[in-house]
Amino acid sequence: MKLVIGIVRPEQANQVLEALHRAEVRGFSMSRVQGHGGEMDRVETYRGTTVQMGLSEKVRFEVAVSDGFVDKTVGALCEGGRTGEVGDGKIFVVPLDHAVRIRTGDTDEGAVTPVSK
């Protein structure tokens, strides 16, 4: 089991959702985050105050998957998130010790595998 964390551009979030759907990855969560990853900073001016905006809006996907789904998930995040410009984001895959589905008490592989209704 792995936790796949993908940080992407907000404007690519819809493409990522579509790609995850095509890869049949059904369970994930996403949140809005701010970050910095080497992209060019934006300079903005508010009346006399000029500032360099060091942080960019990003969207963070978190997907807990069984081992067989790791490559598919990473592939979907790459496919949906890539524009080719600096600032497309990063993907981190980290080991996952334990998972529980709250409704049923299913654990581990059973908890990260979608149930068919």
């Binding site: 819809n14 701010q34 080497g38 992209e39 300079v43 001016t45 000029t50 942080l55 524009t83």
Partner: protein, 427 residues
């Protein structure tokens, strides 16, 4: 000054300010309807119209619209405000300076209205150029036809407050603008939703407030036509709201807030041409019936490839068209002192209204189409896909509507904008 009525002038000064408020209100209404990354750019297009159209109106627009009674266009006798002073405007009891300012606010809001068709992708520079040219070549011409002594008004067409130049002028120009500029890159593929429905409702409410000056001032006095138009501006949109609620309930089982805001605009547009010509009862019928075509076109348009983004055609073009024709049926001389419509035995009035309902859309559409094609040949009309994805606020204005300030580094005058700043190396 002899011939000037102080009461009329006092009301027209206030009415002018009310109409000017409508343009920032429109900016708020439009800003709520777009995505948050385009909030400022959308609002700024309305502010830009105040800037540009006021200057063009003072330079030549007012003169072309209101100097003389040429069939197609006015003269240049009042160019650069020549001869516009404290003497009463011919046919009114208010100083021509007030008349000029009142008419200027109409030109401004009409120019701003068209921005609704091109928000979220048109570049700001070309929009400024377009505003300057459109306010003269399209608005001033249509205003001359309907208000200034041109062929429509001299032929008997009734248009109380601007169904021809303002509503049909903006609505059909918006359709042409949407076709020339083209759809947003994600249109039809992703849900592009309004980001703040409260702005939309507040904007619509302020527009309605301003519209009392728009319609109530179009009699240029405190006399009967103004009083009738003022009260009809309350009655007609209320009827539109009720019918819109019903249509929403039938279609989606829920009454929607953005639907209600749209209904307010549609109702105000419907009564704009007819305000001083129909009875309060007919005004309410106009509001009720007129809701249906605009509602239908909004539902239908979103299923097409035409990204006329904020539905200027449905809200203004269509409702203005219906309002102009309605006069031809239900105008009542006992109320307006001018003319009856078909329903009261005067079929000729309907014919006069039909001329306006055909000529204004055709002129507005064709001229706007040519104008934008010409501007597009000189400079790119729209932002790149990459810029569109980032949002027009940052790209066009270097500002954001909802900035947090977290992680913002102050650029001091000493270090300057060019100074080396600590940026991680992408390689």
């Amino acid at each position: 000054m002899s011939g000037v009525d102080t009461g009329d002038t006092a009301w027209m000064l206030i009415a002018t300010a009310l109409v000017l408020l409508m343009t920032p209100a429109l900016g708020l209404f439009y800003a709520g309807l777009v995505r948050s990354k385009n909030t400022l750019n959308t609002f700024m297009m309305s502010i830009a119209a105040i800037a540009v159209a006021t200057v063009t109106w003072a330079a030549v627009g007012y003169s072309l619209a209101f100097d003389g009674d040429g069939a197609l266009i006015g003269g240049l006798g009042n160019a650069f405000l020549s001869g516009v002073d404290f003497a009463p405007r011919e046919g009114t009891t208010i100083p021509e300076l007030v008349f000029f300012a009142f008419q200027a606010t109409f030109c401004i809001i009409t120019t701003a209205l068209i921005s609704g068709a091109v928000v979220e992708r048109m570049r700001f520079g070309p929009f400024l150029v377009f505003s300057a040219l459109w306010s003269v070549l399209v608005y001033a011409v249509l205003a001359h036809w309907a208000f200034g002594g041109g062929w429509l008004i001299s032929g008997g067409t009734l248009d109380f407050a601007g169904g021809v130049p303002v509503e049909m002028g903006s609505g059909f120009s918006a359709l042409a603008a949407a076709l020339v500029v083209g759809a947003r890159k994600d249109y039809g593929r992703q849900a592009l939703l309004p980001h703040n429905a409260v702005y939309v409702l507040l904007g619509a409410g302020l527009l309605w407030f301003g519209w009392f000056g728009f319609n109530g001032g179009s009699g240029f006095s405190t006399g009967d036509p103004s009083v009738l138009a003022f009260t009809n501006t309350l009655l007609c949109p209320a009827a539109t709201l009720v019918v819109w609620f019903a249509l929403d309930l039938v279609r989606g089982r829920k009454v929607t807030a953005i639907g209600a805001a749209t209904a307010i605009i549609v109702g105000c547009v419907l009564i704009t041409p007819a305000g001083g010509f129909v009875s309060p009862g007919w005004a309410m019928l106009l509001g009720a019936l007129g809701a249906i075509p605009s509602y239908g076109i909004i539902v239908w348009r979103t299923r097409t490839r035409v990204d006329e983004t904020l539905d200027v055609l449905a809200a203004h073009g269509t409702a203005g068209f219906i309002g102009i024709l309605f006069i031809g049926f239900f105008a009542q001389e006992t109320w307006n002192g001018v003319s009856d419509g078909l329903f009261y035995g005067n079929a000729e009035q309907l014919l006069d209204q039909v001329f306006a309902a055909l000529a204004a859309p055709a002129y507005a559409f064709v001229m706007t189409f040519i104008l934008l094609k010409a501007i597009g040949a000189v400079m790119p009309l729209r932002a790149s896909d990459r810029e569109e994805a980032m949002g027009m606020d940052v790209v066009q204005h270097g500002e954001e509507a909802y900035v947090t300030g977290e992680g913002a580094i102050l650029i001091t005058p000493e270090s300057g904008i060019e100074a080396e700043l600590p940026v991680a190396d992408p390689t």
